[in-house]
């Protein structure tokens, strides 16, 4: 059942790439972004590398800190 396997999932990687790119555009360090959304720097690093199965609430917190929409962080996933 390929749709149930985590191996076939790529949204979290696309999300991480988008967050890293937007953070760079804003000139924010991982630490500054993490602080702005109440998360730990190493957790934000893990999200950017696609290692974390981040929740919708934390995706929204990051989008607010980056000044973009949740959808903008997820538009490249296919």
């Amino acid at each position: 059942m390929p749709t149930k396997s985590a191996k076939n999932l790529r949204a979290r990687r696309a999300l991480g790439t988008a967050i890293k790119r937007m953070r760079g555009q804003k000139g924010l360090s991982q630490e500054a972004l993490a602080s702005a959304c109440g998360l730990h720097r190493t957790y934000v690093g893990g999200i950017e590398r696609g290692e974390r199965n981040v929740s919708i609430d934390n995706i929204e917190r990051i989008s607010i800190a980056l000044g973009c929409t949740v959808a903008e962080l997820l538009t490249e996933e296919r």
Copy 2:
């Protein structure tokens, strides 16, 4: 710190509404959608009501089962 409070987060509610609407358009029951993405029916119900802080992997599984993109499930959140 308003951006850190769950009270100010609305993406999960918008996500639930979008999933419910798309599921209806596909003529799928909650049970059929849940089965297609390897989740439990009551969990899908909780997601649709905005009660669950669903993860990116499960959002992607649902989007695959609904035949849409993750971004399409999250475009109404602002």
